[in-house]
């Protein structure tokens, strides 16, 4: 197996009203090609920051993030962001039709999308949707369109930031199935931030627990949920199970 994403002692700070906030503190870890890593942890623990560092939407203050062996800062930025696609929680859409949004990644390169139907069908939408206003789609449809739009760039790595958290359970299940299909059929490496532990357990090959900017435990998903090693992981899992 080859390493697709590598974090080497990565730290990140923000300045919030003159106050320095340490969002990530010395994060290290590897993601194998074609695998799914689910990232869980409390709100504000730094999960989304980990994703944004992979396509240089944020820059690490210390350490290195390597994509396919190369530091993100040494990539051509546009090329990196096409190679490492991201889907956001709210599935933001630009004003315009579904087709306008779907073809956006190629329009940015001065190219036209030849086969929109292929992408629409792949994500379970129909050709009839193409002429509809993107902002009028339902949450589930928007998230599918958001994934399709990211796939137009043919990314090798997919970053998913709570992509099913705003959806009803049926839509969430369908989107989850779609993502697993992308992983299976295109061998796409996936880093998947989720607050849903059962989802993390279902879909992940590896699971990372992030608390207060540190990766507390990173282990094969089954082992992580059945036999966690760290005391903090046990407490976190028990607390969540207790809530349920």
């Amino acid at each position: 197996m080859t390493t697709e994403v590598e974090f080497i002692n990565v730290s990140k700070t923000y300045l919030n009203r003159q106050e320095v906030v340490h969002v990530l503190k010395g994060v290290s870890g590897e993601v194998e090609k074609g695998s799914i890593v689910t990232i869980i942890g409390p709100s504000g623990s730094g999960k989304s920051t980990i994703l944004s560092l992979c396509n240089l939407l944020l820059t690490p203050d210390e350490g290195e993030v390597r994509i396919q062996g190369k530091d993100v800062r040494n990539w051509d930025i546009q090329k990196l962001r096409r190679r490492v696609g991201i889907a956001f929680q709210g599935a933001p859409m630009l004003t315009g039709t579904v087709l306008d949004n779907l073809s956006l990644p190629l329009r940015l390169q001065g190219r036209t999308l030849e086969n929109p139907k292929k992408y629409m069908e792949f994500v379970g939408l129909t050709e009839d949707h193409l002429s509809r206003q993107a902002k009028e789609l339902s949450g589930g449809q928007r998230q599918r369109l958001s994934l399709a739009r990211t796939l137009v760039n043919d990314p090798a790595i997919l970053l998913l930031d709570e992509v099913t958290s705003a959806l009803d359970s049926l839509s969430a299940h369908e989107v989850e199935e779609l993502i697993l299909r992308i992983n299976r059929e295109q061998n796409t490496t996936i880093l998947w931030v989720t607050h849903d532990q059962s989802q993390a357990e279902r879909v992940g090959d590896q699971t990372w627990l992030v608390i207060d900017g540190r990766v507390v435990e990173a282990a094969p998903t089954k082992q992580f949920f059945v036999k966690p090693k760290e005391e903090q992981t046990k407490q976190f899992l028990e607390l969540r199970r207790g809530y349920k």
Partner: protein, 251 residues
């Protein structure tokens, strides 16, 4: 107009002050201060213009224009506080607009190259540019706050910095120009422009006054468009850091 008549006209301000007090609008202090300030400013400008018009040396006129651009820039730059080198970007924008517009008017001998014309017309160009710069910065900030997600989306899909911000720049330019365009749409129908009214009251031929006013309308439209576009393209690159991330935290 006699000094007595001018003093009598201050009655409007006093009447407004009493209205504000009666209806508890809380504007009394502002009304008085603004009126006194306007009086002092205009009197000083009047004496300065008298002096500048009396000089033969064009350097005096250039100095006067520089002061006008400086004051206009200082005012507009407040809106962009926190943006890197915003003062110089606005200074450069207003200067370019002034040079191009005046260059056109003087080069084609549309107006005579006398301080009376140059300074009066420059006042309109610079003042208008200042207002447009204010409106543009105000709108740009609001648009960026509202549509930050769109910028990040385009960047995340491999778009360039320019591609990510262009729709927002376009919207901000359009919005900043709306008052100028709307104002010109009803010109002459609802209100007669101040300068034209002044000329007509002073006894000038209304047709001649209208010709000069038309020149000013066209010039103001051009200066407005030019200001918004130049400022937009000077500002946007520094809204991003070297890693092509939107960085407006200081604004």
């Amino acid at each position: 107009m006699s000094l007595i008549a001018l003093l009598c006209s201050f009655g409007f301000v006093i009447f407004s002050f009493f209205l504000s007090q009666a209806f508890k609008l809380g504007l009394g202090r502002d009304l008085i201060i603004t009126s006194i300030r306007a009086t002092i400013q205009l009197l000083i400008v009047g004496y300065i213009l008298n002096t500048v018009f009396g000089f033969e040396n064009p350097l005096a006129m250039i100095l006067m224009l520089l002061v006008m651009v400086f004051v206009a820039t200082k005012n507009a730059a407040k809106r962009g506080k926190g943006l890197p080198r915003i003062f110089w970007k606005i200074f450069l924008t207003i200067s370019i607009v002034e040079i191009i517009t005046q260059g056109f008017l003087l080069g084609l001998q549309i107006v005579p190259a006398t301080p009376q014309y140059i300074i009066s017309i420059s006042g309109m160009i610079i003042g208008n540019s200042m207002v447009i710069a204010n409106l543009f910065l105000n709108r740009l900030k609001a648009e960026l706050e509202m549509r930050k997600e769109e910028v990040v989306l385009v960047l995340s899909l491999g778009g360039s910095v320019k591609q990510s911000i262009y729709p927002i720049l376009k919207q901000s330019i359009r919005s900043s120009l709306i008052p100028t365009i709307e104002g010109q749409r009803t010109i002459g129908l609802v209100q007669l422009p101040g300068m034209m009214t002044g000329q007509i009251i002073a006894g000038a031929d209304p047709v001649q006054a209208i010709r000069l006013q038309l020149l000013i309308v066209f010039m103001i439209l051009f200066a407005a468009v030019l200001t918004a576009i130049i400022l937009a393209f000077l500002i946007y690159p520094k809204l991003f850091n070297k890693d092509q991330q939107l960085d407006i935290s200081a604004w």
